[in-house]
Amino acid sequence: MRRYPKIEIDHSKCTTPFDCKKCLRACPQACFEVHPVKVEKFKETDKKEPGAYRIEAFYLDKCTVCNDCVNVCPVNAITITV
């Protein structure tokens, strides 16, 4: 039976995903989503502030484990296990 891969992101390494966005742009299956952690009234969340945005893998059923995101990550924050 096919099992979904487990995509883990080390948030202590990946701190400014919306600014970096390499994996978000590289994923052929568009598995990731980036969302704000810090929501302040009348202020756009600063993309350069560490920890203000967080990336997570959402569409696990689409992941083919091609590892493009792992290879493109500049801080080695992504690990995929099958």
């Binding site: 299956q29 568009a30 756009e44």
Partner: protein, 277 residues
């Protein structure tokens, strides 16, 4: 008749032709008692997390997946999205005031797109909420570009040319809040319907694309325009084949056809499609 027209149309007309649905009194910024702070509290993240639950269930608990899907089907019914061909979108531009271009939240979420000015904006905001949005950068980028009716029509034509599907959306209930310009996989409603069967999140349009086989020369230009996988190049006939069951009626194929071989026909005029939404 689609469920939005049944609920919000007037005298059998389409809901987005009904001026009542553009009334500023319907605009509600927030639900009382709800405040976003921290991860997972803003509406976009909430929707994402709900979908992630559904995605996980497909694998972990396939037996109960259909029941869960049905439960989620009810959620988007608080506000509908419907595919809109260009001509209908232009008509909506005449009904709504004000009209703006603004950044797309789906594209920001999925591809970290940063649309910083009117040359990059891909979403259309409608109605009184835009006066607030102009200085409302929370989650979204603040700032909108106000447009005249003619500018808005030109803008919609530009989006159509780029290959975006127009989609009319509401902010809860029937209040018309925008015309999204969408593609797969960036657009959440399109993706959730095509990939996970969340049909109520995006209603098909009131039209269907039909090919005139006498005019079609099989050039294939329309094939690449379809975001819904409804168009194939049929090698046997050397013509375009449009599956009417898969067609959402966005009309992107119609506007691209160099020989005017594709026309949009009313869904209601085809008996087998009347209840296919």
């Amino acid at each position: 008749m689609c469920w939005m027209c049944e609920a919000y149309g007037e005298e059998g007309g389409r809901w987005y032709h009904n001026p009542k649905n553009f009334a500023r009194q319907l605009y509600k910024v927030k639900r009382p008692g709800q405040k976003a702070s921290g991860y997972g509290t803003d509406p976009e993240t909430q929707a994402g997390l709900i979908m992630r639950q559904l995605v996980a269930m497909k694998w972990e608990d396939p037996e109960n997946f259909p029941a869960k899907l049905k439960e989620f089907e009810e959620l988007p019914k608080e506000g509908g999205c419907q595919v809109l061909p260009l001509k209908e979108a232009e008509r909506v531009a005449e009904l709504a005031y004000p009209i703006t271009s603004m950044m797309c939240i789906c594209r920001k979420t999925l591809r970290a797109d940063e649309e910083t000015n009117e040359h990059e904006y891909t979403c259309t905001g409608l109605g009184v909420g835009m006066f607030k949005w102009e200085r409302w950068p929370e989650r979204y980028r603040g700032g909108v570009n106000f447009m005249s009716i003619e500018e808005a029509k030109e803008w919609l034509r530009k989006m159509d040319k780029l290959g975006f599907v127009h989609m009319i959306m509401t902010f809860g209930g029937s209040y018309v809040g925008g015309i999204c310009n969408c593609d797969y996989p960036d657009c959440q409603p399109i993706r959730h319907r095509l990939d996970y069967g969340l049909d109520s999140g995006l209603i098909k349009g009131h039209h269907i694309a039909k090919v005139d086989y006498d005019l079609c020369n099989g050039c294939g230009i329309c094939v690449q325009r379809c975001q819904f996988g409804a168009i194939k190049f049929e090698v046997t006939l050397e013509k375009t084949n449009i599956d009417a069951m898969r067609c959402f009626g966005c009309g992107l194929c119609e506007t691209a056809c160099p020989r005017q071989a594709i026309s949009l026909v009313e869904r209601q005029s085809i008996p087998g499609l009347r209840e296919v939404w």
